[in-house]
Amino acid sequence: MKKIVLSLVFFFACTTVYAQRLTINIDKGGRNPTPIAVIPFAWSGSGFNGDQVAEIVSSDLYRSGQFKPIDKQSMLSFPHAESEVVYRDWRMSGAEYLVTGQLSPLGNGGFAATFILCDVNGQKLMFSKTIQGGPNNLRDIAHYISDQVYETLTGFRGAFQTRIVYVGGGVGNVKLYMADQDGAREQVLMNSTEPVLSPDWSPDGKQIVYVSFEGGRPGIYLQTLATGRRERLTSFPGLNGAPSFSPDGRSLAICLSKGGNPDIYVMDIASRQLRQITNHPGIDTEPSWTADGSGIIFTSSRGGKPQLYKASVSSGQAERITYEGDYNAHGRMSKDGKLISFIHRRDGVFHTAVQDVKSGRVTVLTQTSLDESPALAPNGRMVMYATKRGGRSVLSTVSVDGGVQVTVPVQNADVREPAWGPFRSQ
């Protein structure tokens, strides 16, 4: 737990030397990503590695599906300031943008990173920024740089400084993990010999909630990340499942079958008071909140096969929201309310898909099968999901407009149930 506290203590001191408010919307999407050169940073002093910073930034930008970092081997030079950039050479390399910078040590053991973004075709500096961090903040700084580049070029807030939680391990040896969104700095949050599933983050990123079968029966547990303190919120007869934090962090939507069959309930966390939202003899489960907190999206078998529905939190009135296909489940709405990610079965294969809320248009994002548990990044631009590769369950990411699918490199070889944490306040 100390590690978590340390990384939270990490602070930013960022000065924008030159920042033009310029937004270039990349709508080519993942299928035609923008070539970008991320040049190994210069560095002096020990403990910081400029190559590593560039690798982390490249990897972040690549996984977004929006960018295609050009190969280090094809770079003719390694400029570290705009004055050293020969734009003509970079244009020939195919790069449309260029990121570079340098790291310099500070007296306190930390370091400062100065980094620039250049528009190769326009032959101009887009920004130059400086950020400082402690000795253990190299990865944080690299993700910060990724966020700045991504935001400037796409117009969407970057989500590279976020974290994920997920479940790993096989029957009898289950662990709940937390890591950076790229799978680095993995740490164990809890161990169990019994199943653990359905983690979700509180909107402030300080707590997680999940289902644990410790003692042989399911219960919903709340865990505070900084202290490791856990408390059991529910242990009703039957199902205690699928907890989802409300946008204001005060309530949980959960699935309970104490009334005889699975229905959706809302629990006020402070008082533990329950309110039943759905009451139907079919299966109602996998609740999650609409962006404004007024509705709950859930999976229901009330029409025969599982489909997504939306219920009003105040009235419980439900309407069906998916119509394409005979298996649509595990719906999650983006924070801007524009998209719903979910699992969609097509030709017997379970894919990760998104539905445009306004038009109802469904886009299948993956070519994998047996996809599960899609989790939207807080900026709504990427989905992390679990899928099978080589007989094992892995975490993978895909951009919401399709394109590149990348396996998240975590330590445990059998992982599932990703939950993408909120933006981290700065």
Partner: protein, 169 residues
């Protein structure tokens, strides 16, 4: 009444046709683990003076296993499981013991939906046993969804072994 007669008829036919050969491949492990966990492994059936088709838990699980299998996307009890369930119902009626019905699914589909499907299967077994006269207060359903597969692998054989309810003490 006619449903009951039908069930008994099918069960009898299955008994005649299949003997006790069914479903002994993957659940042996579970059966022996459960048999070993109780103190009644060798106690015999005579102490309670119960009727034919019943016995102690160990001998019922030795003979029938403790796993009820299901078709894809279904919570319906198959005729092949009825003989076993009839034996368990006699056992539970005469002994008054508690049983936990652990529902499980294959890995296809989402985990929480499968949790609900596993519960359906457990309840389906509970309903069958209740219909045979077992008190519902003796039965508890716990679903593990797809979290505790009996067999690894993503093929039809593994799936067929994972869609199951385990009857445990």
């Amino acid at each position: 009444m006619s449903i009951m007669q039908k069930i008994l008829g099918v069960a009898f036919a299955v008994m005649l046709m299949a003997g006790c050969s069914s479903q002994q491949s993957s659940e042996d492990e579970n059966a022996s683990a459960n048999g070993g966990s109780g103190a009644d492994g060798l106690s015999g059936a005579d102490t309670r003076g119960i009727g034919s088709g019943s016995g102690d838990w160990g001998s019922v699980s030795d003979q029938y296993g403790n796993v009820v299998y299901f078709e894809f996307d279904s919570a319906n009890i198959q005729p092949a499981s009825e003989e076993m369930l009839n034996a368990y119902s006699e056992l539970l009626k005469s002994s008054g013991q508690q049983a936990v019905l652990q529902g499980n699914t294959d890995e296809r589909g989402t985990r929480e939906y499968n949790m609900a499907l596993g519960e359906r299967r457990g309840k389906s077994v509970a309903d069958y046993l209740s219909m045979r006269g077992v008190s519902s207060s003796q039965l508890e359903v716990v679903s593990f969804g797809e979290e505790r597969p009996a067999e690894q692998g993503s093929d039809d054989w593994a799936y067929s072994k994972n869609r199951r309810v385990e009857i445990v003490k």
